[in-house]
Structure formats: structure tokens, C-alpha cells
């Protein structure tokens, strides 16, 4: 009689479960990724290259990069500040503050865009004032940045709070006790300790900033060549039945997603924790 561990499934059950999982993941998770590249390349490489150099596509790529270049650093600095005070100190209202910092994750993207239209849109609270001053926020670049700031607000703070809590506090206190200033401690002790976690948070923040659709769709106004980010350009081309064009830009965004997932796996290995999902 062969010995079988009683605290696990039968060998055959195991094989079936693994097979089911792989089939499920192949159909639900892998095929959407594959179909993006297949559709982009269905008329060959020249069509893809042609779609990338279209003026509208170039402008969408540049705008997405610009919006990310503004919003990611802002939310990184603020995320660091939030992680410092939440991670290192205990104070009344700390739990509430954590909830509020994570709040944008549970708000629908459409609502994340809507709030800015309510503030700055033509019929919004400050709309008439802005109009008289000749300023435009909604249906222009500033609105895209504000909507992106809202949806990417939690990423850096959320990644860093657990790291600041566990890893660094003792070394930092030692540095301060030995006479280092607050800034010296931050640059020489904190930053080296959290650098991989910080990079991880920034990567997630950037991926969302460049990939956000719902929130920016609401504030963009869809002015071609002016307020179209890459995901919005994907929608416009798809609705024009320009499949190669739409899937080419989608392929660029998918590449970013794959790189982000790869970097996530590598960084998790570095940080040494399986920190779960992207959220």
C-alpha cells in the first residue's frame, strides 16, 4: 500500500485542479493580451509602424507621457509624506486617515472625473469665474492631470506605509539619537531602506496614470490631437473602425502593463515579500 499524505488532495485531483486553473487563466487572462498583439499585427509590421507615426497617435503618446510626468512625482512626494506620518507615528484619527488615503481606490473612475467637471466645468461651481479669467481646466490638460492625480493618489503611500512601519523605524531612531538631522536621516537611512518599495509604488502609480480611461474620458472633451491620451485614442480609433490603429496603441499600453508586471515580480523577489495584488 502506498503512503499518501492525508492533508492534501489526491494526485489525480491535484492534476485536474492545476489543469483547470491553467485553462481558466489562459482563456480569461492570457488570450485578451495575445489578441491585442494579433489584431495590431494582422496587416503586418508596416501597418503598425504607420499607425504609430500618425500625428494623432504621436500627440496622444506625448500627452500621456506629459500627464504621467506631472502627476506621478506630485503623488510620490505626497505619498512619502503620508507614509512617514502614518508609518512612524500613532495619533488619534490615524485609522481614518488611512481609509481616506485609500478612498480613491473605491470610487468609480467615472466619478473620479465627474468631481472635477462639477468644480471646473462650464456649469460647475468655479466655471463662470474661470471663464471670465480665460482659464480652461476641464476639457484641457490641467483637467487630465487633476483626474489622474485623484485616481493615482493612494499607490505610493499604500506601498510604503507597511515598509516604514516595520523596517526602518529602529535604524532611523538610532540615526537621530546619534545626532543626524531629520533630512540626513531621510536621505541616508530611510531612502536606502525603502528604495525598492518606493520604486514599486512609483511603477504602479505610473502604470495607472498612463492607462487610466474612465476618469480622463470624463474631463477630456475628446479634442483630437489635443486632449486625447493613449487610452482615449484607443477608444476613438476603435469607434472609427480603425482596428489596426486602435490595437497598435493598445499594444503599446499592453507592453507597459507586461513590463510593470515583470518589474513587480522582480521587485517582490527583492523586497522578499509576496505583497499581493496591484491594489
Amino acid at each position: 500500500m502506498s503512503h499518501r499524505a492525508v492533508t492534501t488532495e489526491r494526485r489525480s485531483t491535484k492534476a485536474v485542479l492545476i489543469l483547470l486553473t491553467l485553462v481558466l487563466m489562459a482563456v480569461l487572462l492570457l488570450m485578451p493580451l495575445v489578441v491585442v498583439f494579433a489584431e495590431a499585427f494582422r496587416r503586418g509590421l508596416p501597418a503598425v509602424l504607420d499607425a504609430i507615426v500618425q500625428p494623432e497617435a504621436v500627440s496622444a503618446i506625448l500627452l500621456s507621457l506629459l500627464v504621467a510626468a506631472i502627476s506621478v512625482p506630485l503623488n510620490t512626494v505626497c505619498g512619502l509624506a503620508a507614509a512617514w506620518c502614518i508609518g512612524h507615528f500613532r495619533f488619534p484619527g490615524r485609522g481614518l486617515l488611512i481609509t481616506l488615503v485609500e478612498l480613491p481606490f473605491s470610487v468609480s473612475p467615472v466619478i473620479s472625473g465627474l468631481v472635477w467637471v462639477l468644480l471646473f466645468g462650464a456649469n460647475g461651481w468655479l466655471g463662470p469665474v474661470l471663464d471670465r479669467a480665460g482659464l480652461r481646466i476641464v476639457f484641457a490638460m490641467p483637467g487630465l492631470v487633476l483626474a489622474t492625480l485623484f485616481v493615482t493618489f493612494p499607490f505610493v503611500a499604500r506601498t510604503l506605509i507597511p515598509l516604514m512601519q516595520n523596517q526602518t523605524a529602529i535604524e532611523e531612531e538610532a540615526a537621530i539619537t546619534l545626532g543626524a538631522s531629520g533630512w540626513q536621516t531621510f536621505w541616508r537611512v530611510t531612502l536606502p531602506n525603502i528604495r525598492w518599495g518606493l520604486l514599486y509604488g512609483v511603477l504602479l502609480c505610473n502604470a495607472r496614470a498612463m492607462g487610466e480611461f474612465g476618469a480622463v474620458a470624463v474631463v477630456s472633451g475628446h479634442i483630437r490631437g489635443q486632449t486625447m491620451t493613449m487610452p482615449l485614442q484607443v477608444e476613438a480609433l476603435f469607434n472609427d473602425y480603425d482596428w489596426v490603429g486602435a490595437f497598435t496603441i493598445a499594444a503599446l499600453l499592453s507592453l507597459l502593463a507586461v513590463l510593470t508586471l515583470g518589474a513587480k515580480a522582480a521587485l517582490e523577489w527583492r523586497i522578499g515579500t509576496a505583497s499581493g495584488g496591484l491594489l
Partner: protein
């Protein structure tokens, strides 16, 4: 700083808290407050009328209904994936682990057109389903599919750490006392996982209700049939009906919040019993 309760030599509490509160107010709290105030410019009766239009009710029913069903579908699927990923070792496991996060990493618009291409009548999967008379793209079934796609990682990632921490001795004890593996599953493992299953369900539900990008391409967006509530918010904004859009958004936020609170309470109660 006198408010800090924990004694620490570290400086910087006041400035970092200040920056955090200022940025949080500017980017999140003030905008959300404007959402809470705006609907009432219609008056109470106006808000009621705007929220009880048949088209609104149909959209809410679809959004909350499809998101609930999708989250329910994701519970067994997520349990399967999480169990296999934590307990078994097999070739390709690392790649599979990275793939789980694909719906969170892939921009929603990309996911939307990809699912549409796959499940359209002439798509790779749609063409297999068409002879069976199953239409996915441009039907409420498409809405459900997109919500299953975006919700799966929430259930998996909520379950994984809990499965990892399941005490081996409980399973061993059950087996020693003569329980079959199925009995152990039903009487020992599932009850221990129930709070996490509920939490995963709640997270997937919340995500599905608010989901926009991955749904609108495959939904077909027929009013009264396959039009989700977030899309109706966008349509109202385009018609410059700001108050109506805000009313619908506020209702969605409140209902989602109540559902999450309820599930949270339920989860706490089950957790205490276990």
C-alpha cells in the same frame, strides 16, 4: 508634537501630516464634497425624479446585478486559482502568478477592446460560441464577462495570504480523526476561508459596480438593456445635466458603501464565530 502618542525620537510629524492633509483635501476631499452638494440644486423632489427614471433604474439594476453575479462567479474561480497557486508547485507557476494581476495592470480600455475582439461573432472565442447560440459581445452577458475579468484578482489576492496561514494541524487533526479529504474541505477548510471569501466577494463587487472602461466596449450600451450606470453618468454630463449626473453618482457611492459596510459586519460576525 504633543498629539503623537507613541514615543519616538523621529522628527517630521507636523510637516508630513500637514502636507498629507492639504494634498488629500485638495485632490480628494474637496472634489468629493462638491459631488455631495451638487444634486440638491434640483431640490429633493427633482433628485427623486431624476433617480427614478426607468432608464436610470434599468442601468442601476444592470450595474449592481451584473456586478453581484460576477463577484459570485469569481468566488469559486478565485478559490480554485488561489488554492492551486498556494498549495501546488507546477511548471509555469511564476508566470501564472504574474498573470493573475493582468486585469489590474492592463488599462481598462485595452481590456475592453480585447474582450470585444475575442467574443465578437467572428472572434476567436465568439466564433466557437456562436454555433451554440450563445452571444456574449453587445449583450448583458458581455457586461458580466468584463466584470468577471476585472474582479478575479481581487478574490485571488484576498484568499492567498489566508490559505498560506491556514494552520496545518487542523487539517491533520481532521484527517487523523478519520475525516475524508472532502469532509476536511467542507468542515475545516471552507469555514476558515469564509471571511476571506466574503471580503474577496465584496472587493470584486465594488470594482464591478464602478467599472467603466472594460465594460462599455463589449456592452453594446443599449438603453434599458445593456447600459451600465457609470455610462449614464457620462451621458448626463454630456447633456450638461450636472446635477442629474451628480445625483446618480452619489446614489451609486452610497449604495456601494452600504453594501460594503454590511458585508464587513457579516465578515466580522463570521470571523468571531470561527
Amino acid at each position: 508634537m504633543t498629539v503623537a502618542v507613541r514615543r519616538t525620537a523621529l522628527p517630521g510629524f507636523a510637516p508630513t501630516l500637514g502636507v498629507t492633509l492639504a494634498w488629500l483635501s485638495l485632490i480628494v476631499l474637496i472634489p468629493l464634497a462638491s459631488l455631495a452638494l451638487r444634486p440638491w440644486s434640483l431640490g429633493l423632489e427633482g433628485v427623486w425624479r431624476s433617480l427614478t427614471e426607468p432608464r436610470v433604474l434599468a442601468a442601476l439594476r444592470l450595474s449592481f446585478g451584473a456586478a453581484s453575479v460576477a463577484a459570485l462567479v469569481n468566488v469559486p474561480l478565485g478559490l480554485l486559482v488561489a488554492w492551486v497557486m498556494v498549495r501546488y508547485r507546477f511548471p509555469g507557476r511564476n508566470v501564472a502568478d504574474a498573470l493573475i494581476d493582468m486585469p489590474l495592470a492592463l488599462p481598462t480600455a485595452v481590456a475592453g477592446i480585447a474582450l470585444t475582439a475575442l467574443f465578437a461573432k467572428n472572434g476567436w472565442i465568439g466564433s466557437l460560441l456562436a454555433p451554440l447560440g450563445i452571444k456574449v459581445a453587445y449583450t448583458p452577458l458581455g457586461v458580466l464577462l468584463a466584470m468577471v475579468f476585472v474582479g478575479l484578482p481581487f478574490v485571488v489576492r484576498t484568499l492567498e495570504p489566508v490559505i498560506m496561514d491556514l494552520p496545518a494541524d487542523a487539517e491533520e487533526a481532521a484527517a487523523t480523526l478519520g475525516a475524508s479529504r472532502a469532509q476536511t474541505w467542507w468542515r475545516v477548510i471552507l469555514p476558515a476561508l469564509l471571511p476571506a471569501l466574503l471580503a474577496g466577494f465584496a472587493a470584486a463587487l465594488a470594482r464591478g459596480v464602478g467599472e467603466y472602461g472594460s465594460v462599455i466596449f463589449i456592452a453594446g450600451n443599449m438603453p434599458m438593456v445593456s447600459e451600465i450606470a457609470p455610462l449614464l453618468i457620462v451621458i448626463r454630463l454630456e447633456q450638461l445635466d450636472y446635477a442629474g449626473a451628480a445625483a446618480l453618482a452619489l446614489l451609486m457611492l452610497l449604495v456601494s458603501f452600504c453594501i460594503l459596510l454590511l458585508l464587513n459586519l457579516l465578515q466580522g460576525r463570521i470571523g468571531r464565530q470561527a
